[in-house]
Each structure stands twice: as structure tokens, then as C-alpha cells.
């Protein structure tokens, strides 16, 4: 499992494979080793940590407060994908980033899973895919534009 992490305004990556963990800050600091997690108790390389979630994005580790969000880097999923894939679909950025390429134009016919927009977030490029076959109703994303989480990029009908 690979996830991207925003912590106190910086970004990092975490990889979890069984009981092995690798945490890499963008500036290069790396923590690697074996872990075990039970409730609020984390054991990592033999050391013990107590982790409690707070309000919103706050999380406390051994009495220290962090603001942290973890994103799924594999698929920056379209905003409405949880609902049935019919009707009007708004494809939104799930985390802040920058639009690298716009692959479709309004009026285009698209297949389910076809790439619509490429967004770079935390140094990773992610292709936003169409949740359904249909017609592109609207393209709001502009190349090089900075987008916020939840911002609608493309609308597919």
C-alpha cells in the first residue's frame, strides 16, 4: 500500500507492505522498518508510540500535535465515483495540485476509464479518468492552473 502524506504543510510518502513500513519525507528523511498497530498503540522498530486522532486533520503522537492528511496516490478518484455511474458526473480533484494536461474538450465522446485530465500533486502525476461512457459537457480545468481539493475539473454527461 502506498499513500501520500501532507503533514504540517509538507509532503511525504508512506509505503506499507505487511508489517514493513517505509516513510520518506520529500526532503529525504527516511524511516524504515517493522511495525505493529493495535488501536492507538504503534510499535515501530521496537519503539512505542501512542497515536490519537483529534478534530479534523489533527492527530496526536506522544503528546505532540500534527496536522496530517493521507491520500491514496494510486487513484485520485473522481469526486462522485461512490454514486452510480449514470447521469451527470463531476470529476473533482481529490487533493490540491496543478493541472498538467487537459486530454479532452467539451463535446468529446469518452469511454469509461478514458483519461480526462492529468493533475500533478505532491510530485506525482495522476490521470483523472472518466467514471462512465458519455459526452464531455464541460471542461473547467486549464493547463498549468493550480487546483484545490474538491475543485471540479471536468463534467461528463
Amino acid at each position: 500500500m502506498k499513500r501520500q502524506v501532507m503533514v504540517n504543510g509538507r509532503s511525504a510518502n508512506i509505503e506499507i507492505d505487511g508489517s514493513q513500513l517505509r516513510y520518506v519525507r520529500d526532503e529525504g528523511v527516511e524511516i524504515e522498518g517493522e511495525f505493529s498497530l493495535e488501536g492507538t498503540s504503534v510499535l515501530m522498530n521496537g519503539r512505542s508510540y501512542r497515536v490519537s486522532k483529534g478534530a479534523g486533520t489533527e492527530i496526536w503522537v506522544n503528546g505532540r500535535r500534527l496536522t496530517m492528511e493521507v491520500f491514496d496516490s494510486r487513484d485520485l478518484r473522481p469526486g462522485q465515483c461512490a454514486t452510480a455511474n449514470h447521469g451527470r458526473q463531476e470529476i473533482a480533484a481529490s487533493m490540491p495540485g496543478k493541472v498538467i494536461r487537459v486530454l479532452v474538450a467539451a463535446g468529446d465522446t469518452v469511454e469509461e476509464g478514458q483519461g480526462l485530465v492529468v493533475v500533478e500533486a505532491m510530485k506525482m502525476q495522476n490521470e483523472m479518468k472518466s467514471p462512465k461512457a458519455g459526452r464531455v459537457a464541460e471542461v473547467r480545468a486549464r493547463p498549468d492552473a493550480t487546483v484545490g481539493a474538491g475543485e471540479i475539473l471536468v463534467v461528463v454527461e
Binding site: 508512506i14 524511516i31 511495525f35 501512542r50 490519537s52 483529534g54 503522537v61 503528546g63 500535535r65 493521507v70
Partner: protein, 500 residues
Amino acid sequence: MSLFRKVLVANRGEIAVRVVRALRDLGIASVAAYSDADRASLAVQLADEAAHLGASPSSESYLRIDRVIDAAKRHGAEAIHPGYGFLSENAEFADACAAAGIVFIGPPAGAIRKLGSKTAARQLAIAAGAPVVPGTERALSSWEEARAAANSLGYPVLLKASAGGGGKGMRRVDRESELQAALRDAASEAGRAFGNSDVYVEKLVEEPRHIEIQILGDHHGRLIHLGERECSIQRRHQKVIEECPSPLMSSHPDLRQKMGQAALKVARAAGYTNAGTVEFLVDGNVDHGPNFYFLEVNTRLQVEHPVTELATGLDLVEWQLKIAAGEPLTLKQTDVTWRGSAIECRIYAEDPDHDFMPAPGTVVHLSEPAGPGIRLDSGISEGWNVPLEYDPLLAKLAAWGPTRETAIRRLDRALSEYVLTGVRNNIAFFREVLADTDFRGGRLSTLFLDRFFKRRKKLEADPEFEAAAALVLALASRRAEVPRRDIRRWLESGREELLR
């Protein structure tokens, strides 16, 4: 022993819990008075009965004399404990209790009145022979008068607005050449702020420490003191760390008795009974001192009373109840002894990184510290919504140890165990203060926190902490398989086997 059958607690938060606990310890039924916001408070949950006062604003609930008296009558309470704040130092409330045939657990209304105004209390202290900060007391009428007064006091001096407060119209003057300009500035600032440009001059107390004396008096003429609490660690003129003994006492062993006697003189002159606190300013004068000066009297139980309880082994709320019930104070001054060291910090819903701004919110996760030497007086529980209407004090964490060093270590340990999420708070901040070398060395003054902030280093985020937090968040969606517990072994095996 004829204490009360039932007592109403006219307060909220941790102090309401504290009083409810004392009542339960004494076998007295408790009634927690509450506002809308406090309907599900810990005090309401722990009390035997609860009485609704009104809407959340204090002016509609905890400050309403009529409603508090009515609640006590409705529930058949014989006495009211006012806690601190709210109506605790309100002479009119003490009178209203008496008129309703209810015992007010506190000093007589007359003593509250005599000590209520700072200037009247100062006059009373002077008459009683307690030292006050030397000064003119009256407004200065001319520059010549100011010069003569400042010279006789000795520089540095402090110019203060007669109508003053909040530092407005206040000027420090270090030498005569600065006096004239400072006088002009102070007077014009006071005039703008208060519509009264009267200014007086006082001796400036350098490196001031705030040290107060706990007193206890009964209705039979006995009045004793329970020693000091040092409360020099303050933010916005509010105490955040308090301790007993004051670190100053180890180098000045006779200071406690001197201050204690001065406090008793003031209390005697005011006709004081029940628990009270006489506050002093103590200077850092190592040559002829330290000198102490009377500030004011708090005619109630103090927030920081637990440190006195830990150091003396006495229960102040129990004594308040006994004294209010007319029992004699069976303790003599010589019965009061101090053991080890106690230190307390006030846990507030506030943000130490942003000028201690109050930070309301809902307590998401709460795991409270315990263990040797730890006492926690808390008013919160998980899911508790910290109301905007009141002071953001959540809890008081205190530690006792045979030495100050041990007490500090225990307090630090307890802070490290304390998990309180969902509400910004000062728990982590206290650990920084406790680690400070000046704090450890007992070099305290009311200027401590200002200086601490100037030398405070931003803590580096620990990558291991981040990794642990990221791990928890990344795996949060993963459903934990809850294994069915097989309890047959417990049921079938003997105790011997289980203990093996």
C-alpha cells in the same frame, strides 16, 4: 458532628466536580447547579441532584442570585458552595443567602465588602500593619511633588493611573531626568483611557514574584495560615503554574512565617472567617530581602488550592464546610506542617502558539494521567463540548514529590501520559516550561513567561512521530477483525491456573 445534609454547588467545571467530591466524601448530598451548556457536564453527572439555572450565558445562570437561591430552596439545600469566580466574592449574594436562611460557604458579607475594593483593602492592610508597596496613594498635584515622592521612594519607580487598570497610564521611570516626560505621558494616557488624568507614584518592584498565603478562620476566633503558594508563572496576568513551597523559601526559611503573620493581621482586621487567600508581591532583592508587599485578598477558595492540600495533607473544602457549619477549627498553627513539594499546572482550552487564544471544541479522545504523586482535578469527559461562554479552564494537573525536582519530574511524566484531543490545549507547552533551566532552578518572576517566549525554540517535528501517525491514518480504513473471545478457560480453570 452536625454538618449539612445537602449542599448546592453554584459553579461549574472542575471546581464543581471538586466540591461534589468533597461532599460525597463527607456523606453530604450534592446538588449541581447548571446552565443549558452544562447540562451534561461531569459535575452534573457526578452529583446526586442537579438544578437547572437558565440559559448558557453566566448572566442568565451562574450570576443570577435569585435563580441560585431558588434552586437551593427547590432542592432543599441547607448551604451553597460558590466555588471561585461567579458569585463567590459577591457580598450581595452572601446577604441573599442569609436572608433566605441558607448558609453561604465563605466569609461573612462584611469581610467581603471590606476587602472587595483594592484601595480599601490596601488602607485596611496599612492600618493592620502589613507592608504595602510604598507609594503616594494620592494623586500627584505637581511635578515638584512627584520629584520629591520619587526621590524618597528611590528609583526605579512606577507611575500609575488612579482610575487605572490593564497597564494603561503606567510608566516605569528609572531616573529623575525621565520623570517629567513620563509624568506628562502617563497623565495624558490616563485621561484618554479613563477620563481621569490623576496619576500616583509607587516604588517599582523589580523581578516581582507572586506569592500568596492561604488562611483559614473559624467562627470561634481561631485564625491560622497554611503557608504559601508561588504563582509567578502567569500569562495575561493569570496564573498557569502554582507551587508550594515557593522555591524562595529554601534560601529564606523565615519568610513563610513573616508573610503568614502579615496575612493573618489583614484577615483579623477584616473579621475574616472560612478559607481565603492573601496575595503578596515579593521582590528579588537579595541584599535586604526579599521584601514582600500586600496586594489583595481573594475572599474565596482559590483555583490553585490543591497544591496547599498536597503539601499540608489538609482538605480545604472539607474545612470550608465544617467552618460554615459552625464547627471549631481544631487545628492549631503548630499543627500545620509542610511535607515535600507540590506543583500544579492549569490545563486550558487555548493555543499557546497564538497568544493563548481560547480554543473551544469537542473533546475527541481523553486519556487522563494517574500514578504515584499525581492528582487531577478535571471537569471534562470524552465528547464534552467546551462551551464558549465561560473561562476555558479544563482541568488542573498537580504532582507531589518529596523534593521539588521529583514533583517536577512526576508532573512532566503525567503531562506526557495526558491525551486530550479535539481541543487545542497547553499540555505540550507545559512540558517545554518544565524543561526550562530557569524554571528548574526556581528563578521565577511574573516576567518569566514573556522571557520564556523570547528564548523558546520551535520544536522540530520528529519524523518517527510522523511515520507513526501516517501509519495509523493509512490503515484507518482497514477493518479490524474482532476475534470472538473464548472465555471458557476463565470459567473452567481455577484461580491458581490463571495466575500461573
